[in-house]
Structure formats: structure tokens, C-alpha cells
Assembly symmetry: C2
């Protein structure tokens, strides 16, 4: 198993050249202190922490996983200590507001720290991810009283948070939620119901856990408009902030999963033990029946966070495969004839390594770019700019989530393949990344749900205006590249231009077919998402190549690094961009084939 080294130079390049971090301190007063020097210091520290504390625990977490004991869930050896060190160093609240003990860093900086944590140890990263999601929910809709009791402890990581959406009958379809909440005389509620797939629903790292639970009030309307959100602590909290009675919220089993073994996935029973005389004590968050709406506010960032996981796993797998390929000797060099060479000399291994590298870099750029948009959404002084950036960010989110997670599965698979037979042996560690990646296209909305979100919400809601603006930007990049002097840029520009055309044509087809061939549009959604991902990735790579060429022309910085950016972008253009046309054709095939398939033809 290889070590992890945070790719700081690459991260800084993407942040500055592609994700607008360079301008954050200037444009957004809230982030005036997020200077390049500050970023360097933070990323170096975070990189050390990820490599030295978190990465070494990734394997033991996979092998030993979590255990459910009568006293609750026990995390793997070392987990508790690592979590304490993580919180003590302040990483948990890096992007949380300073007035609640956070560090108030912009997303376009925090994203790099988060990537490192995910690369080093995905199972570990999920606890803080869920906690900061819950923090955001509380910021959005909790009463001042609840904020005062819970927020600071969650921002510092002293207590963790969970999200309780899924029930056995209600997965992608949350309208089917049955958990219920009974109002009490004191203004609190009693919660009854079972929730499944609750990440870090129980653990031994903190002395309290704050569950956010979706449930129905009596007489709530049926469907998604009758769901409210409740805060249900594991231990009740006394007025002085000390812990009180054990609440009736228990983990009753944990799942035996394909991957992320060290992240406990809990079945939670609320109000089932009766230890408080019936029901778990809960507190309404925000207004009745608006729970799903609040959940969707968090969902944006949660989905971005999962997209980032795809990038992080791809990066880790790439580093490991590269290290292996540089060590393993096998076969003759087909070009030079040298007798026994390391396998990184074989063209097909190089192809796979470059495919991994360029796909990770394209998705990293898309992801960081979108986090950069979120900074403007949160902190731009101009309301119109906030709105414009929100529309664009929301357009990008399903592309980032769907694209980066599918990429993560493909790239970790290539990493395994490069190891040959050794890749299939668990001790090598390559298989773990592949197994861990497999959940990312499912949780926080499957790839199919991202694709529907892209088409039916993000694309169509403004009649395609956001998309057209975006196409215009990509087209301008393609033109500038095609007009550049360097032959690599020209080649990239041409391929990007053709790929963009395919995306535009497919989008026009969707617009026309939305009424006449709804089934065809629905069936075309995922191929359309792949098309969007392919072109967005190509745009990012083209922008990267352009920026790198400018640095080289100016004689600035590390020439080797910039040459690598251009070569990687060219490789992406040759290997990935031609697929855009194929996806476009598939989209436009519509429902012709599927429409003929009645249920009994399967």
C-alpha cells in the first residue's frame, strides 16, 4: 500500500487559475484574510495531518470496521484519537462561521483540505461531512435557543451530527417517510420511527450525537409537503450545557457493507425502547412541514462534498498505481528494446496512468470551480451576483456529483488494473479504493437522480438561459485555444469546439422533446449527464492548458509542472472529448428503442 501525499501544487493551480480563489480575498470582504500565504500555510498543515494521521488508519479501518456492542458502536483502533486530533487542530470547522467558533475560510480553500481528508481516509471523512451538514441546517433554521446549545459544540466537533432521511420503504422517494412526531405540552416533540443507512448514527468518538430526523407531524399533508425536521440528541442537554438523560434514540444494528467499513452505517430506532416513557425527545427545526426544503438547502453542499470524494479516491488510486508502476518490473520495452523495465514504460500502462490523471484533474477542476461559485453565492456583496452565481452553481452541482463519482469508480478500477493480479489481493490496498468508491454514485442521490435534477430542474427552469451562458463561456475558450500558437492548444480547442457542438445540439433536442417525448428525455438523462461532464471536464482542461501556456510563455514558475498540464489536457482532449459526439447521438436516439420494450420483453 502506498503512502498518500497531498498534491498541493496541483490544488493551488486549480484554486488560483480555475476556481477563482485568487480573487476571493479581493472580491469578497468576508474572506479578506484568505490570502495566498494563508492558503499555503493551511494546505501544508492539512497535507501533513492527512498523510501522517489519517492515511495510516485507512487500512485498519477497512480490515476491522466498526462493531456494535451493548454499549453502542465501537470505531476501529486509533479512530478516537485521530478524531480528537482532527478537532483540536480546528479542521472540523474550517469553513464554518467564526461567530460560532468556526474558522471562516472560503469554500474554495476549504475544499482542498476536505479533499485531503477524503483521500487519506474516506470512512473517517464522513463523520465531519455529516456534522458540518447538520451545522448548516441549524444555521438555516434552528431557533436561537437551539443554536446556543448545539452549534458551537458541533462546529468544533465536540459533538457530531447525523442526517436521518431514509426508511426501509423510503429511499430515493422521501414522500414515503412514515416516522412521526407527537407534540408535547412543553413545546418539544416525541419522535417514533425507524431510520436506515444513518452514517455515524452511533460511535464512541464523542459524548453526544445530534441527530436531524425527518418525520411527520399529526395531520401533516401526505407526501413530501408533510415532512418536518427535528433535532434529536443522543443525550438530552441540560440548561447549563451538561448532558442529561439518555434519549430514546438507539442504533439497533450496523450494516455489513462493500466498502467504507470504518464508517458505521446504522439502523436507528427512535422511541422504540420506551426508556423515556415513549418516544425520543426532539425539537422542531424551523417551520412545520418544511423539512424537505431545509434538507435540500444542505443537499447542494452535500452533493458537492460527495463529488469531491470521487476526486479524492481517484487521486489516491492514481498515486498508488503510479508508485507501483514505477517499481514493478515486467517485460521488455517495446520501443527501446531494453530487456526488463518497470511497467510504467509500457505504452498501455502509461495510457492508463494518464487516463487516471486527466480524469481526476478534470473533475477536481469542475469541483473546485463550483466551490468557488459557492463562495460568491455566500459572500458576494452584490445581490445580483449572488443570484447569478447560485444559478450557475446549482447547474454545476449535478454535473460535479454525477461526473466525479462515476469517474471515481472508473479511475480506482484502472488503478487496480495497473496492479495486475496483485490488485485483486486485498492486502495491496488498490481494491479498497474501488470498493469505497462504489457508494458515491448512490448516496446523496444516485447518478440517475443527478441527471434528472440537471435536466428538469437546472436546465429547464430558466428556459436554458444558464446553460446558454455557460455554453458561451466554453465556446469562447474553445475559440481562444484554437487561435493559439501552440499546436497542442489548437488541437484541444478544436476538439473542445466539436464536443461543445454535440452538447448544444443535444440540449436543443431535449428542449424540443420535453413535451413530445418525455419518456425519451427521461431515458436520455444519464447519457446527457455524461455528455455534460465530458465537455465541462474538457473546458476545465482547456482553461488549465491555456493558463499553463501563459506561465510558460512568461517564464514563470515550474516549467515541468506547466508542461505536464498541457500534455494532460491534450490527452484528455484526444481520449475523452470524442465521446461527446457519441453521447449526443445516444441522447437524440430518444425513446425509439426503449419505447418498444414492454414489461414482458425484459
Amino acid at each position: 500500500m502506498s503512502d498518500y501525499r497531498a498534491p498541493i501544487a496541483e490544488m493551488r493551480f486549480v484554486m488560483d487559475e480555475l476556481a477563482g480563489f485568487r480573487d476571493v480575498a479581493v472580491q469578497l470582504p468576508e474572506f479578506a484574510e484568505a490570502t495566498p500565504d494563508m492558503a499555503d500555510a493551511i494546505l501544508e498543515e492539512a497535507g501533513k495531518f492527512a498523510a501522517e494521521v489519517l492515511a495510516p488508519l485507512n487500512r485498519v479501518g477497512d480490515q476491522q470496521g466498526c462493531r456494535l456492542t451493548p454499549a453502542g458502536v465501537v470505531t476501529p483502533p486509533g479512530w478516537k484519537e485521530a478524531y480528537k486530533a482532527f478537532c483540536d487542530a480546528g479542521w472540523n470547522g474550517i469553513a464554518c462561521p467564526p461567530d460560532h467558533a468556526g474558522h471562516g475560510q472560503p469554500d474554495s480553500l476549504a475544499v482542498a483540505v476536505k479533499e485531503m481528508v477524503c483521500s487519506a481516509n474516506l470512512s473517517f471523512s464522513l463523520g465531519p461531512l455529516l456534522t458540518t451538514g447538520a451545522v448548516e441546517a441549524l444555521l438555516t433554521c434552528a431557533s436561537d435557543e437551539l443554536k446556543a446549545i448545539y452549534l458551537e459544540k458541533m462546529v468544533t466537533g465536540q459533538w457530531t451530527g447525523t442526517m436521518n432521511l431514509t426508511e426501509p420503504q423510503a429511499g430515493s422517494d422521501l414522500a414515503l417517510i412514515r416516522s412521526r412526531a407527537e407534540p408535547q405540552a412543553d413545546g418539544s416533540y416525541r419522535i417514533f420511527g425507524q431510520k436506515i443507512f444513518i452514517t455515524y448514527g452511533d460511535h464512541d468518538m464523542t459524548d453526544n450525537i445530534v441527530h436531524l430526523v425527518l418525520a411527520r407531524l399529526p395531520d401533516a399533508p401526505a407526501g413530501v409537503k408533510g415532512i418536518s425536521m427535528f433535532l434529536v440528541p443522543k443525550f438530552l442537554v441540560n440548561a447549563d450545557g451538561s448532558l442529561g438523560a439518555r434519549n430514546d434514540a438507539y442504533c439497533v444494528s450496523i450494516e455489513h457493507k462493500l466498502g467504507i467499513h470504518a464508517s458505521p452505517t446504522c439502523v436507528m430506532a427512535y422511541g422504540d425502547s420506551g426508556n423515556l416513557g415513549g418516544g425520543a425527545v426532539g425539537y422542531l427545526l424551523g417551520q412545520p412541514n418544511r423539512g424537505l426544503e431545509y434538507m435540500f438547502i444542505m443537499m447542494n453542499e452535500a452533493r458537492l462534498g460527495v463529488g469531491l470524494q470521487g476526486v479524492a479516491l481517484g487521486e489516491r488510486a492514481y498515486q498508488q498505481a503510479l508508485a507501483y508502476a514505477r517499481e514493478r518490473k515486467q517485460g521488455r520495452d517495446a520501443i527501446t528494446g531494453e530487456a526488463l523495465v518497470t511497467i510504467d514504460k509500457h505504452p498501455d500502462i502509461r495510457r492508463m496512468l494518464m487516463l487516471m490523471k486527466c480524469r481526476v484533474e478534470a473533475c477536481r477542476a469542475m469541483t473546485y470551480y463550483t466551490y468557488g461559485l459557492m463562495d460568491r453565492v455566500h459572500a458576494h456583496p452584490d445581490a445580483d451576483e449572488r443570484k447569478r452565481h447560485l444559478l450557475l452553481a446549482e447547474f454545476m452541482i449535478p454535473i460535479v456529483k454525477g461526473g466525479s463519482t462515476e469517474m471515481g469508480i472508473d479511475v480506482t478500477s484502472l488503478g487496480l488494473q495497473i496492479h495486475g493480479g496483485m490488485g485483486f489481493i486485498e492486502e495491496t490496498g488498490a481494491a479498497q479504493h474501488w470498493r469505497d468508491s462504489r457508494i458515491t454514485t448512490i448516496y446523496e442521490g444516485t447518478t440517475g437522480i443527478q441527471a434528472n435534477d440537471l435536466i428538469f430542474r437546472k436546465l429547464m427552469r430558466d428556459g436554458g438561459e444558464t446553460a446558454r451562458g455557460f455554453f458561451g463561456e466554453i465556446g469562447a475558450t474553445a475559440k481562444a485555444l484554437a487561435a493559439a500558437e501552440r499546436s497542442e492548444l489548437k488541437a484541444i480547442g478544436q476538439r473542445l469546439g466539436s464536443a461543445l457542438e454535440a452538447w448544444i445540439k443535444a440540449t436543443e433536442w431535449l428542449g424540443a422533446a420535453a413535451r413530445s417525448d418525455l419518456a425519451g428525455v427521461l431515458a436520455a438523462a444519464v447519457p446527457y449527464l455524461h455528455l455534460a461532464v465530458t465537455v465541462c471536464g474538457g473546458w476545465m482542461m482547456g482553461r488549465a492548458a491555456f493558463a499553463a501556456a501563459a506561465k510558460l510563455a512568461a517564464g514563470e514558475g515550474d516549467a515541468r509542472f506547466y508542461a505536464s498540464k498541457i500534455a494532460t489536457a491534450r490527452f484528455y482532449a484526444d481520449q475523452l472529448l470524442p465521446q461527446a459526439a457519441a453521447y449526443g447521438e445516444t441522447v437524440q436516439a430518444g425513446n425509439a428503442a426503449l419505447g418498444a420494450v414492454s414489461d414482458d420483453l425484459f
Copy 2:
């Protein structure tokens, strides 16, 4: 977890309409008894056996795996009994020659039985696969004396066989093999060395195991031309056929693998314990220094067998995903508005199911077709026909092996995806198929090795003549489809024609670049393989649609089944064939991008 049901109607269709089984009994005197009735009876029996005996053990095999004890490897509960029943029913030697206790069935019939066994329980299937491979080696090159002692016992399955190629330093590169053989006065040899990744290297199902071991004689030339093949039994065999001394051939550890947990993957030590005074007793097979050549004769069938595994796992995953999708209710029907429907009604789930179905069917047809060619290779009365079929079969084998195994990974992944969060839970069983599939693109030659084999051996050795003949056949099918009356056939024919053009163009580019851009050709090999797979699959689906339309026109057989064949072919044409052009572009991009990537740019 779903049950397995052998898709007999589909198998018979492929055998008869696409793989030439219908003509076997007529064309090939050796197989005169392989009539349709015989096939029906055999497939029905085999289907029952696979479903009732083997499939139920698939899960326990995954969960419990094998254990190494001081007495040797212990297989999971039920394994021994199932293996005995398998041998008693005669399945082990179904395609082996009758004069050695085999059943002498043609490959184009036996392939369906083998698919069932692999679908039901891949881990189980590997023992018989290796045994029949060893049988073939003995038929090719063993002395009459060795044949008399070993063959019948291996054909009936009373003893199993293994292949010992890999050593820690010698994986894809067998030139690096170090195991050695010392000649003894009595004509036998003593073998010394360590072998890894030995499938079923030890187990408790039979009282003897016959290892075929690659090793070097003293003074053998370096490299692949100095490797000989030896037969090394676990127990020596006395003249009367009874078992003698324990040979010095021991399993010293078993691997902890990502999948196929119930197939013991052994590290074998030969001549290390010294219990026979130094070395394991072995017998030379065939002539000195020709071991690799013999191994490659077997390799053809072994690679086809692994391709078949991809089909088998895809089929199993498809059946399971379909059963789940028909049961799981979630969400509203987007077309009819029905409130709560089973998820197989959602267009994106239908798309995934159809993608699984059409890709499995295309690969099944390619695989059975190639087994059908092998029947002609083995048994055609005309020598020229045998040779012609051999060239074509050898051209197809890397396409089948590379294509079907990559398909298997993709399709089992889709199966998992359709299960949503449940797919990530091991108890569901969907994840096992995905994990099991992951070895198939690695063993018996990685996808990269298949691609090189396709280009540098199968394509170029006759100056592309075999390929051109094959293109002609595909072109004729495309034309016939395009000229048909049914609109679906027309559409398929047009797409097949365009895809074929892309393949021809890429092939011409390869021919031209082979000298001028060798690195580019090597880097383009895998995309070229994907291109070939895509078009071959399209050809098979086109032929299937054509045959089905003829049946419908004649009013013969099950109209629902034939309608499904046409719809599935159309779906393949719309969804898969457009990718041919993209692969073609990538091939022809050659080394432009990769050539600029020096080692320090990764």
C-alpha cells in the same frame, strides 16, 4: 438475493441462429449425435443442476471462503458434496473425448452448460475449468503412459488439475520464470520453486491433484524458449493406479482476495519441505523447452472460458437486478402519473436494465459464435476449413476475452446501481457479482495483453486478411439490415454500417502507423479493442434481429421472444454503436498526447 434461472431459450437461439450449432450434427461427423433434442435435454438438466445445487452455494462460498489448515485447504460447507454430484452427473467431461471417459459434446453446446455453472457459482466453476484445461494439455503433449495414468481420472473429475505459471517476479512476463527441474536417473525430474496465484492449488474435494508446472531444465536457454512443462501430482501414483507417497508440493498460504472467495488461490512450494529427500517428483510433458508453446495451445480455450465468465456474471446480475426492480416500489410514474410504482417503470431504470441485457446478449453471441468456430477447428473434415476457422477463432478470442470481461464489470456495476443503497449492502448479493467480476480482466492475460494480441498477432500476422474477410461479413449484414423493410432493422443496419466504417478506418491507420508510430499503436491498442468489441457486438445483435424478424415474418415460435430480440438489438445500436466512432478517433489520435509525456510529468 435472487435465484438463478438458466436462460435456455436465449441460449438455444444464440446457439442455433448465431453460433452454428444447428449445423454441427450435419457438418461434423464427430458430433453427429449433437441434435437439437439432445441439446434440449442436456440444457434442461444442466439448468436444474446449476439452479438447485450450485447457485445456493454461491453466497456461503463468498461469506466463508476457503481456509488453510495443517491438513491443507478446506473448501466451504457443501462444496465437496456439490463437486461430487457435479462429477457423478458427468458435467466435468462434457466436451472431453469419449475415448477418455468424456461425453464428446461439441463446444457450441458445452458452452451453454459452462455458462450456467459460471453464472450459478463462479468460484465453483474454476476447479473444473482448470481441470479441463489440464486435460487438454495432457491430450496435446503427454506420453501414452502418463495419459493412461491420469487422463480418465481428470476427465471424470475424480482428480482435479491446476496450471502453475506465475511466480512473484513473473506475471505477465513469463520469461522471468525461475522454477527449475533436475533430471533423475529414472527419467523423472525433481522440481524446485515457488508458484503464486494457483487456482485450486489445494482443496479437500478429491484425493489427488495434478499440477502442471512451468520450470526450467538445467542449461535451458534464457527467456520464454527455455521453459518446460511438468506434471507434478500431489500424491505419487503407483503402477496399479493407487496413491503412493505424498509429493513435495504444498500449498503454503492462500490469498485474501476481493472476490471469488471460495476459489482457493494458493502459493505453492515445490521441493521445499524435503519430505522426499529434495525436490517434488515431476514428469516432463512433451518436449523440453516447449512448455510455453503447449501452454498457449490451452490458452485459447482458457481465454474463451474467461470471456464466458463475463457473460455469466452479467446474466446473473441482470436477473437479480430485474427481480429487484420489479419488486421495489419507489416514486411516481413520470409518464402515467401513477402514484407509487415498482422502479422498473422508471425510464432510467429501464435504460439500465436494457443496457445490461443488450450488452450481455451481444457478448454471449460473440462468445458462443467463437466456440462454434472451435468446433470446426477441432472437427471439420476439411483441413482448409479447419485452418480458416482457426484463424478466425484466434482473431475473435482476444475480442471475446477482453470485451466480455470488461462488459461483466460494467454490467454487474449497473446491477448494483439499480439496487440503490441496498446494492452496497453485502447481504443483497449484488456486490458479490461485481467483486467476483473484477479478476476476469486480469487473469489469463489482462485486457492490455488481449489488445496487443489482437493487433500484433491476430490482425497483423496475415497482413489483415482475416480482418478484411470479417469486415466483409459485417458489411454484408449491415447492408441486408439497411435494405430490410422493418424500420428497426434499417436503423440498426445504418448504425452498424457507420460503426464498421470507423473500425475499418482505424484498422487502416494501425497498418500505416505500425512502423512509423509504434508507441502510438501500442497506446491505441485498448481503445482499438473496445472499438472491435463494440462493432462485433453490433454485428451479433444485427444478425439476431435479422433472424428474429424472419421468425416473426414466418409466424414461427414465440413472438414475444423475437420482438424482444429486435428491440434489444435496436437499443444496442442506439446506445453502443455510436461509441465506435469515438474509439476510432481516439485510436487515430495515436501518440500525439502521450508522446509528450516524459516520466517526470506524471
